[in-house]
Subunit: 313 residues, 2 copies
């Protein structure tokens, strides 16, 4: 009874952005740059580097331009930044020129829950989509044939800390609107790490009725240890893009002290064991995680990293 | 694309034995008794209480008879002890009388790897089976119609720290020999927490050709975070008995400092979310875990327990 699983999975490394944004301890800019550079050498093809959000609201990302202006640019790696609004877009545009065309990527983010989106961005989902329309219009005007890779995020795709369970039809609706704007892929986020495999089945049963599985990524948090069970479930649907964070960096924004993002090392351990190709070297990712651990005020959450350390890697 | 999963799963709680045996810190006998008593009130039907192994080799279990002689006996709960040899059997027999017939259970343990079995028990697999034959013969002589529930354990059913990957045919062979002795169910152990879902598929593809899925339990360790992914995979084969340890107590015996047993709370969180009945109250298990945490020199590994604590349960 072999499962049908993809031959290859693309991992989107979100440690430098989603990971560090949700850690309390500030990490020096030079350390972040060294961290991204170490990840660049691991075989990862997608690294989410930073976010051009309001530095007063998110001081962890105040050095966005510095980081983007200083990291090495490895061939074949896309370096992404989160863009909340036109101002953030202008700031990103000021850094984009140093990257080759195929290294440029931006991410636009909204949610499937109105309440969550409003609390997170002070705008309704419709308003966020309109902002993205302005940004994507500007992109087409300013960059013409040189468009970056555009990713859309939908937070609370399974459960919202304010609204509870989210209807899969709602996720499909937001997803379609993002794709209509010209977004290349949409990452569905289990923001509070609440999902179990049947949630993933319900979500994908709805979303994949209208959308090609190749346009969908899953962004899983491991708050209750279910992330890899959800990955296995999603792979049976043909999903082959997963977000993860090296070392398991990042907390759960709505449960301080709880575990956060799915760890890249744990994901790689499982995919390697299943003979699913990723092109990513687990040991290199673990070394990158180690480079940042001294700045994090708690042990890194990745179980595979701890197993490697226990074995004296 | 709904998965076929069992309507009901039976959880075998191994925290008091497999958990505490693999923690370095000694836990007072009275605390162990209170721990088992708390677990008895959670709805669990199977609790592995202790082990009658050599106290010089395993000092953590030196109080086996004291614990078994002092715990409360909840109706409908089976209280199990590990029996390595005839001497251990005699010691267990001295305690068994205070339990109702349907509360009595013993566990016999061997491995699928010759090297592991020899290092763990100083006997080859064949010798272990012969010892079990002496014990089961004695059981039939001494207890006649009052046989306890008999469980067989097969360690290193996927991978051995000495021999590497284990052939599923080897596991099937040991499994059949245990069932031939009159064992009621066999628990297949991923002792070092190395298994990924394709390993579980290969294992069950072999074992279930000859053995009814209702006789098979999986004993998973979460050393690399893959345990729940393996549970989901096994449930698709009709496996509906899983061993777990409250709080995630227990380490990996071959990687000191690494994570150990699958946590009962994490398993329950996932099964509850999937509407799979267990009869076990997650909060009651979490409370039992909390009662023992002060004696363990590291945070309890269960992610769900930490999420509950972060939420101030």
């Amino acid at each position: 009874m072999k499962s049908t699983v993809p031959a290859r999975v693309r991992i989107v490394e979100v440690g430098p952005r989603d990971g560090l944004q949700n850690e309390n301890d500030p990490v020096p800019t030079a350390t972040k740059i060294a961290f991204v550079d170490a990840l660049s050498k691991s075989g990862l093809t997608d690294i989410e580097v930073t976010s051009f959000v309001n530095p007063k609201a998110v001081p962890q990302m105040a050095d966005a331009a510095d980081v983007l202006n200083s990291i090495e640019r490895s061939p074949g790696v896309r370096y992404s930044a989160l863009i909340p609004n036109l101002k953030g877009f202008e700031l990103w545009l000021g850094c984009a020129g140093r990257f080759a065309l195929d290294q440029r990527a931006i991410a636009l983010f909204t949610a499937a829950s109105e309440t969550f989106n409003r609390r997170n961005t002070n705008a309704g989902i419709g308003e966020s989509i309109e902002t993205f329309r302005v940004i994507t219009d500007r992109l087409r005007t300013d960059m013409a044939e040189e468009l970056p890779f555009i990713r859309g995020y939908i937070s609370t795709a399974v459960r919202c800390p304010f609204e509870g369970p989210i209807e899969p039809a709602k996720v499909l609706d937001v997803c379609s609107r993002l794709l209509d704007l010209g977004v290349d892929e949409v990452s569905l986020g289990d923001t509070i790490g609440a999902a179990v495999p049947t949630d993933i089945e319900r979500l994908l049963d709805a979303v994949l009725t209208e959308i090609d599985a190749r346009r969908i990524a899953l962004h899983l948090h491991d708050t209750r240890g279910t992330a890899l069970a959800n990955v296995v479930t999603a792979m049976r649907y043909g999903i082959a893009i997963f977000d993860s964070s090296s070392g398991g960096l990042g907390g759960c924004p709505f449960a301080p002290g709880a575990f956060g993002n799915l760890a890249t090392e744990d994901l790689l351990y499982m995919l390697n064991g299943m003979n699913i190709e990723t092109g990513v070297d687990l040991t290199a990712v673990a070394a990158a995680s180690e480079s940042i651990r001294a700045f994090i005020g708690h042990p890194l959450a990745s179980k595979e990293l701890q197993a490697l350390e226990a074995a004296g890697f």
